[in-house]
């Protein structure tokens, strides 16, 4: 870490830390309004944009099982999800880009009476909360999605779910942000934050960056940086496993999940099938590399071919780990009273789905506008 001023960006109006979907869109929104903004991202560990591209709307059973105490928080956030998917669609149009975004509907399948009962209960609750969900028995399931294995008895269909190709989306958004005037510091990381007089100072290997405002959009990495300024943001990294197959003929139309087992299945426009859904990965070594595990490859892929047997004939060509961030079931959005000048933008679970919308809400608050969603329930002040 150098104590001299950063040669490229010694001082800036707003510094966005984190270049994943949240940081990238947030920096772009601010820059589009004429704000002087720089975005810094390590590009290796956090903010690797190692996304899988599911657009989630219904409550993920994985999350409900793992964190039952967080279900109330999850329910209170649920209304954000259809808004977030609609925001993604509008954003794609605004950019005139092709994200390969398709709202195909999402299926959560069950293979026992108990699982279908759980899905039916979840479906009722989600309908009460305003989602468009319905239950399908096997015959109705086959009519819209042939190819499920003999064990599958039925599914919950949520109409608003879908998928996009994150490689296409992230590149288009990166170009848009750059065109808007965002200064990008790629491959650089922030070692710490401090307050100096009226500005916040980020320390990096190349030097210090003085900023009037800082946005932490660094997922779980936000925790330590917030702590440098005396603020509490209890974000936890959740490294998750992903697999991608070779390209094949159209096979899966919907985003597919399971009532009890961790899995997401979806086919991209390239014809490749992305298999994920919450199998663990870990952060290895001093560099905290997101690293995949053999147990997750075996468990995740054999489960996939159990649900959709024809996947068994496909070859996996790559596995990788992405990092989900969990907090308390709710997003953390907006200014932090405990640390003036500091703003937080963490969507909580399903960060890719919620990312652009959350970024818009925080950007609006920073621009002095009224965000389209009341940010009070998501304020970082609940921890401070």
């Amino acid at each position: 870490v150098s104590e001299a001023a950063h040669p490229a960006v010694p001082a800036i109006g707003t510094l966005v830390i984190g270049g994943g979907i949240v940081g990238l869109t947030l920096a772009g929104f601010l820059a589009a309004e004429g704000v002087e903004v720089a975005m810094i991202d390590d590009g290796r560990v956090g903010g690797t944009t190692a996304n899988a591209g599911s657009l989630h709307v219904q409550m993920q059973s994985r999350f409900m099982r793992l964190y039952p105490d967080l279900v109330p928080g999850l329910e209170s956030t649920l209304h954000l999800y259809p808004k977030a998917v609609a925001f993604w669609r509008a954003f794609e149009q605004e950019l005139g880009a092709d994200f390969d975004l398709r709202i195909t509907g999402g299926l959560m399948v069950g293979e026992s009476r108990e699982q279908l009962d759980f899905l039916a209960m979840k479906c009722r609750r989600e309908r009460e909360l305003g989602l468009e969900s319905e239950m399908l028995d096997r015959a109705r399931l086959d009519a819209i999605a042939p190819g499920f294995g003999p064990a599958i008895l039925g599914a919950e269909l949520c109409a608003d779910e879908g998928k996009l190709n994150p490689l296409l989306a992230n590149q288009a958004i990166r170009r848009w942000a750059t065109t808007n005037g965002v200064v990008r510091l790629a491959g650089e990381s922030v070692a710490g934050l401090a307050r100096r007089d009226r500005v916040l100072v980020a320390r990096t290997a190349r030097g210090t960056i003085a900023a009037e405002r800082v946005v932490l959009a660094a997922g779980a990495g936000s925790r330590a940086l917030a702590a440098d300024l005396g603020a509490v943001v209890p974000a936890e990294p959740e490294p998750l496993h992903m697999n991608i197959t070779e390209a094949t003929a159209p096979l899966l139309h919907h985003l597919v999940q399971h009532a009890e087992r961790p899995i997401t299945l979806k086919q991209l426009g390239t014809g490749q099938v992305v298999i994920g859904g919450g199998w663990p990965a870990h952060l290895a070594g001093d560099e905290r590399w997101p690293t995949v595990e053999l147990a997750s490859i075996v468990g995740n892929a054999t489960l996939a071919q159990h649900i959709v047997p024809s996947l068994g004939g496909l070859r996996i060509i790559r596995c990788w780990a992405g990092i989900n961030t969990t907090v308390d079931g709710r997003a953390v959005l907006g200014p932090c009273r405990a640390a003036p000048g500091l703003n937080i933008a963490i969507p909580g679970d399903a960060g890719y789905t919620l990312g652009p919308l959350c970024a818009r809400l925080v950007a609006d608050a920073m621009l002095g506008r009224r965000p389209a969603v009341d940010l009070a329930p998501y304020s970082p002040d609940r921890f401070n």
Binding site: L167, A247, T248, A249, I297, T302, S310, L314
Partner: protein, 557 residues
Amino acid sequence: MSCVTIEFEGRSIAARRGESVAAALTAAGVRGLRTTQSGAERGIFCGMGVCQDCLVEIDGRPHRACMTIVDQPMNIRRESHRRPPAPVAAGLAPRTLDAVAVERPEVLVIGAGPGGLAAAIAARRAGAAVLVLDERAHAGGQYFKQLADPASGRPDRQQARGRRLIDQAVALGVELRPGVEVWGGFAPMTIAASWRSGLLQLQPRALVIATGAYERGVPIPGWTLPGVMTTGAAQTLWRCYRRTPGRRVLIAGNGPLNLHVACELLKGGATIAAVAESAAAPGAGDVGTLAAMACAAPLLFAQGLAYRARLLAAGVSVSHGSVVRGIAAASDGLTVQIGDPRQGATWEHRVDAVCLGYGFEPANELARALGCAHDHDPARGTLVTRRDEQGRTSVAGISAVGDCTRLGGALAAMADGTIVGAAAAATLGHRRDAALARDIAAARRELARQRRFQAALWRLYRAPRLTLELAEPSTILCRCEEVTKAELDAALAEGPAPIGEIKRRTRAGMGACQGRYCGPLLKAAIAAAGGDVAESFAPRPPVKPLTIADLARSPSP
């Protein structure tokens, strides 16, 4: 020699039992084997299971033609992009890793080439129980490639030496298990492999990685056309299967392997249109270097002279200081332009096949996946496995040997193997006897000699290391994802970024070969643009594509 009739898209082809599908199809004049996303045809390229370009559909499933042995009648088609998956018989139950048996060999050696075999023999002689895995159907690796059908010809000295090494390993009680595709290494010490349509999980007490090297990709206009292959691929067609890549062949590259293969293909009845060697012709100033080579390894030196003499006698011109500037499809084969690497006139040749041999890349994917430390070698642009003088890597229990650690040739790898294998056994408490101790000392002397020879050899063959110099904007750099040089340049023009981001910007490196050919090219391009020269693609499993159903099954008996 027994024959098997195979069907290729409705055409009956008489294949020799035991040869590769690639060899049988090449002999029948079939060159285009798979079609890409853009509809382009691809054929044999690496010939050793790395590039994934020679995929064919056999009985509904994708197979690499170069790695698949003809042992029964087969129904073969071109592999088409986005083909529907093969129908699966019964649904397989999901399973967790706990339910997968763990095999715990005392010493596990991955790769049955010169380094791996020598390491296995030394470890066994020290008293360790040793299991050797190899992806190919026969042990020997790329240097000791054995004749698939012993009746098809007399093995030459190199093959005979390999045979003796294999026989010695077997006689000592080393377990050689061919046909095993290792696809993953997981810290601290788990190896995952596909074998007999099932999953193999191994946790050895000591691991020796001996995965060798593969040929570098140098993007030349037309290098993805069927009929353009590595020199090593052509050599395998001849050495293992007694087939030639075509009637008229042009060989281009850097180093003596190209001359060796030219001689072999001549023997096989091919016409060698030319050998284009990028190094300048040896001159008066190289006398000292030649003397050093003759001194360090007289046999190899004599062999090199013999290649030259044989080519001269056959009227084959070795054109020094020249490269292939471009390859194009013609009505009856390929037209090739040969010339100075930078400018000036080119000479055109009309051939059936072009062999490219511009040096090697170490196959260090497993060592990297297991967390072994590597250092950047700026001269070669490759990573070098960090090892002590016993071959131990930075990870306890893991050694690495031969070309996968740093390039040095097969004979250096063999000497290295003796040292490393014995040391791996010693870490498990095995003692070396006096005979083994003598052989280790001899191996150290031999290794030093081979390194002197190699150093002199590459002084003699010194030439600019080609990366992107010959590529035009429309030339493909990433063979799998069909990413062109223009697309890479555009991505780099958007600003500096880590290599992983360039991968995501362009999709280069996201295909089935896992970036083995384009990775070094991206590194070179990033370095030229002023970026981080040392950074490589992050290692990602599987190092070879992995059929999902194989994870749900145990290897069939």
